[in-house]
Symmetry: C2
Subunit: 699 residues, 2 copies
Amino acid sequence: LLEKFFSPSAVAIIGASDKEGKVGTAILRNLIQSNYQGQIYPINPKYQELFGFKCYQSVLDIPEKVKIDLAVIIIPAPFVPHTLKECGQRGIKAVVIISAGFKEIGGEGAKLELELEKILRQYQIRVIGPNCLGMINTHAYLNITFSANTPLRGNISFFSQSGALCTAILDLAEREGVGFSKFVSLGNRVDVTECELLQVWQHDDETKVVLGYLEGVEKGEKFIEVVREFTQKKPLIILKSGDTSAGSKAASSHTGTLAGSGKAYQSVFKQCGVLRANSIEELYDYGISFAQQPLPSGSKVGVVTNAGGPGIMAVDACEKLGLEVTSFEEKTIKRLKEVLPSASNFYNPVDMLGDAQAEVYEKTLQILSEDSYVDSLLIILTPQAMTPIREIARRIVKVTEGVGKTILGCFLGGARVREGINELKKGNIPNFSSPERAAKVLQGMVTYQNWLKKGTSTFPKLPPLKKQLIKRALQKVSREKRVTLTEGETKEILKTVGFCLPESQIVQTAEEAARVASQIGYPVVLKIASPDILHKSDIGGVRVDLRSEDEVRDAFEAMLVRVKRFFPEAELQGVNVQRYILKGKEVIIGMSRDAQFGPLIMFGLGGVYVEVLKDISFRVAPLSLEDAREMVEEISAYPLLVGIRGEKRVNIEEIVTSLFRVSQLGLTFPEILELDINPLKVSEEGGVVLDARAVIKEK
Amino acid sequence: LLEKFFSPSAVAIIGASDKEGKVGTAILRNLIQSNYQGQIYPINPKYQELFGFKCYQSVLDIPEKVKIDLAVIIIPAPFVPHTLKECGQRGIKAVVIISAGFKEIGGEGAKLELELEKILRQYQIRVIGPNCLGMINTHAYLNITFSANTPLRGNISFFSQSGALCTAILDLAEREGVGFSKFVSLGNRVDVTECELLQVWQHDDETKVVLGYLEGVEKGEKFIEVVREFTQKKPLIILKSGDTSAGSKAASSHTGTLAGSGKAYQSVFKQCGVLRANSIEELYDYGISFAQQPLPSGSKVGVVTNAGGPGIMAVDACEKLGLEVTSFEEKTIKRLKEVLPSASNFYNPVDMLGDAQAEVYEKTLQILSEDSYVDSLLIILTPQAMTPIREIARRIVKVTEGVGKTILGCFLGGARVREGINELKKGNIPNFSSPERAAKVLQGMVTYQNWLKKGTSTFPKLPPLKKQLIKRALQKVSREKRVTLTEGETKEILKTVGFCLPESQIVQTAEEAARVASQIGYPVVLKIASPDILHKSDIGGVRVDLRSEDEVRDAFEAMLVRVKRFFPEAELQGVNVQRYILKGKEVIIGMSRDAQFGPLIMFGLGGVYVEVLKDISFRVAPLSLEDAREMVEEISAYPLLVGIRGEKRVNIEEIVTSLFRVSQLGLTFPEILELDINPLKVSEEGGVVLDARAVIKEK
């Protein structure tokens, strides 16, 4: 249905004008000047005619036989609902609302926007906006924005949640001569969001790559689904703002404190194959490169230069970003020695020296293009005294055309290199103002290639949960007007989903503690059991490695004294006597609930690794097999799990399975807000939950 | 003396020409066209006259009464030594050698360069080059480069170890209209290096900031001394390449493996207040900003924008870089509410909305300029339909002039914002193509301001070393044709410089071990003592926490069996019985010797923190008080030393003192190549060396 937006056969411009400085004038003029081939119907009761087009009082006045595919509304906000209704009555199914004065101003505006929503549902109209800059489809000669710039034709499509950013990007694109395919300012997104656009553009032959600017996503689950599918077909690069200021809400669990919405987006992008741009420039660099160049088949980069310094900079940048500054085939080096002066560097980076002429560039690139170890070529030029810049650019284009490798230019300088850069541009070779920018783009392209190679994500088949049992346990807590589950309650739930617990028992007296400890076997741990005490160890509520009846008795008494002193009001359920498990490594598995994306799963090594070093990984549920493995491997302390210095490898599969269990639990029970398994003790054989807690929604 | 280079009253151009495409032509023409006010003496036996100037056979033919301050040599390399000698005979004290064909081509070229060195010493000539692009001083109308571009006048000085990069920077500067003061291509640095330039430019009123491109430094100690002094006066920004590929030599100690030359440069820059640019663009951004704007007095940034999105991006970027997105004074917010529309954001970032006119910008900036919580202002503009870009730029310049805050522009777009950017430029306000670039510059300026606030570094007075004792110990190892010191030997040296050692004794039998252990007191550690076994614990050569005579005896026997199996040839000095110290945290202090900068000191927490997490800090000796404290505080695990969750703080002063001791040892004994104290056990009270090793130079 959205296709009507992009290729309408007739457009009504409601609020068209011919007064200078009016948005209605700018849009009508842009539409005319963009050479639109369909019919144009200006609507404005004040005019009979506008720019030679007959002007109508309302869309209802347009002759019935005319099929209006798209209407653009540019009138003051209070009149928009009525006009939208008329569009509905007239059978118009696609409307772009430019007008501002809705949700973004709050109060009355928000009410007006709710009205729009009702009307568009009633008449089944799809709406872009309100409060937007409009949209462009260069392939349909359609520009219904009030921007001063119309972009060239190209194969980059763009959506933005900020209209202002659209104007900046269009202005930049004009200067750089970059073409776009579709260009949409989303505004308040009363109806159409980035998701619908991606679903359409996925099948759009005129779109090779999509760029987007995002401030936030509303339906997280749908976003994940749509994007995951999209990136299997085309690259999607997103500039996301609002990372640091958000997620600062205080939260009571580790996972909650460490998560924050920035982490959720970061995770979702990783899980869905989205490349993230860190600035407007990076967004732009990615856009032109994906649009113009083939993907590199691997991470091996060849660098060619007429200046040593920038060559080294390129190598530094590539290595820092994890690209491989490749070795060449032997025959390559032999051939290079035949064509380059003897003082050249024949290895990577190939330094052809300062007086390199066009032919030297051509021959060198010819040779490197035929080297199977080279996936991409970064071609550097500095404007030295005798450098025939334009001719070199021409030869670069000629010799690299169709070689199936990614070719990026790095002509450094200003006025003198401009003509060369233009030649590269004509030959679809993007140029970057520094080796670092070029390397960053290459890294992104390799990352996307690796994403494609991984194929679609596989989700594990998990055994069904014992829903009734868990439900009842959660309801019991709610009935007692609590939101925090005790260690015991949390562990019971974890047990039902398959986790192992250490042998343990709650006791009331020191004698009982000693007896139970002897039954369980030494060493044991004592832990205070109280719904009111969250950080047990902070107040001496945990004693580990107790090795005899006497130690257990003493610890019990001392613990009660301390706890009563610090928390005289706390409800005590007793003291938990638990087998003390020495073998294995402590890991933390946590879940917190993100407002947009739902359960956000955390993993890290226990203790200081999480608390001090923040060495943790995140993914959004549901986790694919790849997600779970990656989140274990991604932490810096991963070598400790695999075993260093002769230590034994812990059971990684057990960790992966545990992550799935927590993911499943979080998805199935939205009332669970936070869950910490801290620690899960994992050895070669398996894992045991030593401590855990959970927080549920208030009833 | 170097001043002759920059303000000569007469210049001889040796190898001048008028043939197109010749370097001698390009330089003579540049000198004439740069409007040089002194006398010009072209030298070339083939000409009588060049461009209207009388041409001489050699410098010796110029009338004796003329004082030639500077000669430029552009003739083929083999003739350069003779010509340089003639310059010496003629009394010329400053020579720029453009000619290539010296050290950079090796063999004959290297020999020629040695000849140059001899001649310049003999005649006391200062030489820039050879193999360079030349130099420029815009304030003396002096351009003796063969570059196609002559920069505008300005107050940025630049040196570069790459001539090609000079051409690119000059070309870029011309496009951007950026001015330079002095501009020097250093070439092979047979005589003048970056150090001499910095010493001169430190006192040069026409230089406000210095940019440099560095591939390597030769005299590390001098560099540190010169730069430390320089940055107390003016900012120095360096682009350094060759970080990743270098330092990859295998080394046998932890410190050696982890150090590498990249770390040494990184440390030196930190210790000397140098800002490091990560790309040509960053170098450039820093240059114009330091040149045109005052330093911010603190890290508090105010952001002003006509578009929400880029405002959020700016806030994200600032926060990520550790800048403070400041709160405003109450009166500021009150005043903003009076001048801005009600839907604006009156807090930081101030969003004046898309239709903000010039007056709105002016009033808003007026108000924020008067807010004492604002140290710098980041002013964003997107080219929206009704934005009077040029007028806004004019008002920005007008209202922020002389307010004493750092003002950076961020006009986003291309052609439409160009005129605005030009207006800003005229008013000395630099503009950046993204909020991220502007934020990065601000961070650098704040870092430099903090460096100035710290003042000159203070170096601790250390007690004198017992040099003779240490010398003898090292000589003994050398005499035995060893390079590795045993644990015992290393510890003895550490003891003489003030380190504490645990009680310990080397024993030969299991019985002796048990007896000594009982004397020392349990628990104890056994460690194999052999100069041939470096990684003792890997082969079972260390047993800890032994608690009885029996355990000691068993451990002794088992250890000998294992060691003899793995190292049948190893010379055994016995087994070390040592008190096992439980209290405290294990840290590592190491020293490795950098080829350029000498002793590079390393600090980290013991075990996995260093080996797996690479959580370490480096500084070059001698350490200032600030250096030592910073290197302790800089590691991520620092909170563990201060004590988390009720643990006791370790003695940080003891660590700092230990760092000084190692620094002093490294400086005093250049024959010590590597030293590892791993671990030093530090508690509240003090530190004890549990294990240590050292490597010395081969004789």
